[in-house]
Amino acid sequence: MDQRAQSSVLFREIKRHRSVYLLLIIPLAYYIVFKYIPIFNGQIAFKDYMALDGVLGSRWVGLEHFRTFIRSYYFAELLRNTLMYSFGKLIFSLPIAILLAIAIYESNRPHLRKVVQTLAYLPHFLSWVIMYGILLALLAPGDGIINDIVKALGGKSVDFLTSTKAFPWIVIFSDAWKEMGWSAIIFIAALMGIDPSLFEAALVEGANSWQRVRYITLPSIRPVIVIVVLLRLGTILDAGFNQIFMLYSTPVLSVGDIIDTWVYRQGLLEFQFGLATAVGLFKGIIGMALILFSNRLVKRFGGNALY
C-alpha cells in the first residue's frame, strides 16, 4: 500500500467515525480546560511562585523544588513508608474486596447475601475521625478492649497505636476494614454481567463450585480487576492522606510519615506551593513509569490494557 492509499484509509476511518468525534467535543473541551490548564499552571513547580506576578511572571528556579524534596532528611523513609502503605493496601485490601464480591455473588443464602451487601459498604461513610475513636476503644493501652483481653489472660498491655511495629498493620487493616465493602461494589457490578449460560456449560461438563469460580467467575471479571490495579498503580504514591493524618502521632512518625503528610506540613502549611506542585509531578513520574511498565505486561499476556 502506498502512502496515499494509507492516508485515505485513515481518512475513511475518521469519516466513518465522524459522529463519534461529535460525542467527544464536550468531554475533550472539558479536559483541556479543567485538566490541562492546571497542568500548564503546574509550571510553578519550576518557579518561585509569587502571587502578584502570576504563573507566567514568576521567576524560574529550575529544579530547586525537586531538589528540596529529594534532599529532605527523611526522603528515603518517606518513599519507603508511602510504597509500603500503597502496596500493602493493594495486596491486602484489593483481594479481600474481590473475595467479598465473589462470596456475595456465589452465596446460596439470599438473606445473608442481601444483609452483607447492604451493610458492607457502610463503613466507607465513617470518617477517619470516627474510625480513630473506634480504634482507640479497641487498641488503647489503658482500657482498649483488646488490651483488656490481653490483661485478663495475664499478658502485658501493648500500646498498639504508638508502637512502630504495630502501626503499619493498623493502617493497612483499618483501611481494609473501612473500604472493603465499598471497593467490592465495582466487582459486584462486574459479576452481574457474567453470562449465566457459561455456568450451564460448566455444569454440564461436571465442574464443581471451586472450579467454576476458578475458570469462569474470576476470568470474567479479570478485565475490571486489571483496570483497577493499573489505575491504582498510576497513583501509587498516594497512600491515603486522610487516614494517616488522623492516625499518626509523633512516636510513630518513622513509620507513619508519608509523602503527602510531609508535603502538607512542609509545602501547604508554609506557602511553598512550588514545592507541593513539584512533589505532585514527582509522584506522577513514578506513577506513569509504573503504568507504562505494567500496561506492557498486561498487553503481553493478552489482557485489556489501559491504552
Binding site: S19, L22, I26, Y49, M50, A51, L52, S72, Y73, Y74, Y132, G133, L136, L139, A140, P141, G142, D143, S157, D159, L161, T162, S163, T164, S249, T250, P251, L253, S254, D257, W262, Y264, R265, Q266, L268, L269, E270, F271, F273
Partner: protein
C-alpha cells in the same frame, strides 16, 4: 442525520440547563454605587454552632450606620484548614478585605506583598485602640518595621492550672504535694492504692495528651508543670542570661528522665500518647486520673463540670501550686500574650477600603457594637443584671439566649469585640450551683486562683522563628521515642541525639531565634 442533530441539541440543552442555574448561584456583587462591600473572613467563636443567619440584625445596622455591606465568611474550624484556605486565596491574589490569620501565615503573606500595613489605623480607632491594642499587641504582627495586623486580645493569660483530686487525697490520707517527689508519691498512690475505693485497679496518677504549639514544644502544654519543675518549660528560654532552646539546656534531660519514670512506673494514663483533646476531657470526667493540667472553663464551667458532678458527687478538684523540682524550680508553664490577628489585604487598601474597615472595627468597639456582637440584642438574647453584666438566665426561650443554640449564631463575631474585660469575664463565667452535689462553682474564681500560681514569663516566644518541617519532626519524634523506649534514654544517646539535632539545623534555629529575641527586646 437529522435525528442525531436533534439529540445532540437536546444533550447540550440539558447540560446547560443544569449547569447554568448552578453557575449563577452564589453571592452577587453589589452595585457600584450603594454601600461599600466589605468581605470579612472571621474566626467563629463556637465553630460548630453555625454562622449568623441571613436576616441577622447586625447586617442592617452596619449598613445603615456605616454604609457598609458586610459579607461574612466563617473560616474553617481548625487552624490547618484556615491556613490552607487563606493561602490558596492568597496564591490567586484573591484575599478578602479583612481576615483573621495566624502570625506564621501572615508573615508569608507579607513577604508576598499581599497585606497592607495598619500602623495608620490605630489613630483612627481611638476607642478600640484603648481597649484592644497595647504596645505588645502593636508589635506582635510587626514585620520589617511595619505592623501588618491588628492583634486583638486572644485567650486569657495563665488560664490553666494544675488540678488534683482532693477527694482522692483525703481517701488515702495524703497531703497536697508540694515537691516533685511528693507528687510522684501521690501519683503512685493514685495509680495503685485504689483512691476511688471501687475495688478496681482502674485509676492512674497523671492524665495528659500531646498538645504542641510554637512555644510549648513536645510533650506540650499538659506536661509543662513537670518540665517547669526542672526549669525547662516551654520551647524557649527568654532569660537574658541564658536564652535559647530549652531542649539544649541541662535540665531538659533530667525532666525527660523524670517523665520516663512516670511512664515506666505506670502512673501516667497510658493512653496519653493516643488521646486527642476530646478523649482527654472525657477521661477525667470518668474519673480515670487524679492529676492534670486543665483550662479553667473546660474544668469548671457548668456544662463541662456537670458530667463529672453527676458521676462523682463527692469528687473535688483543687488548683495546686506547681511542684518544686530538685533544683528549686517550679512553674505551671510558659505564658505569652495571645492574640487573634486580623489583617487587611493589599487589594482592599488599593480599593480604598481601609478607612471603612477602621470605621467598622471602631464601631464594634462602641457600646452598641460591643454588646450586639458580644451578646446579641438586649431582651432577646440577654438581659443586664444589676451590675450591668449580661446574663442568659432571664431569657425565657433558652435557645435564643446567647448561650443557647440560636443565640450562639448571632454572637459568632464576639472574638472581634471582646478584650477580656471584667464584664466579659463575669458574663462568661457566672457563679452557679452544681446540679447533683449542690456545690457553688465559678470558673472565674478558678481562673483567679490559677493566675496566682507560678508561671514562666515568655511573652513573644510564639513569634520566634519556626523550624522547617524536617527539623520539627526530628525534634518531636526524637523526644517521643526516648519516652516510648524506642531510643534508650541515657546520657550518651541523649548527647548524640542533641548533636545530630544541632547539625540538622537545630543550632542555627536556636541562634536565629536568640538574635530575633534580642533584636525585638523579648529577653528578660
Amino acid at each position: 442525520m437529522k435525528k442525531q442533530r436533534v439529540l445532540w441539541i437536546c444533550l447540550v440543552a440539558v447540560l446547560s440547563l443544569i449547569t447554568l442555574p448552578v453557575f449563577s448561584q452564589g453571592a452577587k456583587d453589589s452595585a457600584a454605587t450603594g454601600p461599600v462591600a466589605i468581605e470579612l473572613w472571621y474566626g467563629a467563636a463556637v465553630t460548630e454552632a453555625g454562622p449568623p443567619p441571613a436576616d441577622w440584625v447586625g447586617y442592617s445596622i452596619i449598613k445603615e450606620k456605616l454604609n457598609i455591606d458586610l459579607k461574612l465568611t466563617a473560616l474553617p474550624s481548625n487552624e490547618s484548614d484556615q491556613d490552607v484556605k487563606i493561602q490558596a486565596a492568597a496564591a490567586a491574589n484573591n484575599l478578602p478585605d479583612l481576615f483573621m490569620v495566624r502570625r506564621d501565615v501572615l508573615g508569608r503573606l507579607v513577604g508576598q506583598g499581599l497585606v497592607a500595613p495598619v500602623d495608620d489605623l490605630y489613630a483612627k480607632m481611638p476607642i478600640r485602640t484603648a481597649t484592644h491594642y497595647d504596645s505588645v499587641s502593636q508589635s506582635h504582627a510587626r514585620f520589617a518595621g511595619k505592623s501588618y495586623g491588628l492583634a486583638d486580645p486572644g485567650s486569657i493569660n495563665k488560664n490553666e492550672g494544675l488540678l488534683i483530686r482532693k477527694d482522692w487525697l483525703d481517701n488515702l490520707g495524703l497531703a497536697v504535694p508540694t515537691t516533685l517527689d511528693e507528687l510522684m508519691d501521690v501519683l503512685r498512690a493514685f495509680t495503685y492504692d485504689d483512691p476511688d475505693g471501687n475495688g478496681k485497679n482502674d485509676t492512674y496518677g497523671y492524665g495528659a495528651f500531646q498538645e504542641i504549639n510554637n512555644y510549648e514544644a513536645w510533650p506540650g502544654r499538659r506536661l509543662e508543670p513537670i518540665f517547669g519543675a526542672f526549669g525547662v518549660d516551654g520551647t524557649w528560654s527568654l532569660k537574658a542570661a541564658d536564652p535559647g532552646l530549652m531542649v539544649l539546656k541541662d535540665g531538659f534531660f533530667d525532666a525527660m528522665v523524670f517523665l520516663k519514670k512516670m511512664v515506666d512506673e505506670g502512673v501516667m494514663d497510658p493512653n496519653w500518647l493516643a488521646y486527642k483533646k476530646d478523649d482527654f476531657r472525657a477521661a477525667w470526667k470518668q474519673g480515670r486520673f487524679g492529676v492534670m493540667r486543665e483550662q479553667n472553663a473546660a474544668f469548671a464551667a457548668e456544662s463541662n463540670y456537670a458530667p463529672f458532678d453527676k458521676n462523682f458527687p463527692n469528687g473535688e478538684w483543687i488548683v495546686v501550686d506547681a511542684p518544686i523540682g530538685p533544683g528549686g524550680h517550679a512553674s505551671i508553664g510558659p505564658y505569652t500574650a495571645s492574640f487573634r490577628i486580623y489583617a487587611i489585604s493589599a487589594k482592599a487598601e488599593k480599593a480604598g477600603k481601609k478607612d471603612k474597615i477602621a470605621a467598622l472595627l471602631e464601631w464594634m468597639a462602641s457600646d452598641e457594637g460591643y454588646y450586639l456582637l458580644g451578646w446579641g440584642v438586649e431582651g432577646v438574647n440577654y438581659t443586664l443584671d444589676k451590675n450591668g453584666v449580661p446574663v442568659a438566665d432571664q431569657i425565657a426561650n433558652r435557645d435564643l439566649a446567647f448561650t443557647g443554640s440560636v443565640g450562639q449564631t448571632v454572637t459568632q463575631l464576639r472574638n472581634m469585640v471582646f478584650y477580656n474585660g471584667d464584664i466579659e469575664l463575669l458574663a462568661r463565667y457566672p457563679k452557679y450551683i452544681t446540679a447533683t452535689s449542690k456545690k457553688e462553682m465559678s470558673a472565674l474564681e478558678v481562673l483567679r486562683t490559677m493566675q496566682t500560681k507560678t508561671w514562666t514569663a515568655a511573652i513573644g516566644s510564639d513569634t520566634l522563628p519556626i523550624p522547617n518541617a524536617d527539623l520539627k519532626r526530628f525534634y518531636e519524634q526524637g523526644l517521643s521515642e526516648f519516652i516510648t523506649g524506642k531510643r534508650v534514654l541515657n546520657r550518651t544517646n541523649w548527647n548524640a541525639w542533641i548533636e545530630q539535632f544541632k547539625k540538622l539545623g537545630g543550632q542555627s534555629w536556636n541562634d536565629s531565634a536568640v538574635a530575633f529575641a534580642a533584636e525585638h527586646g523579648l529577653l528578660i
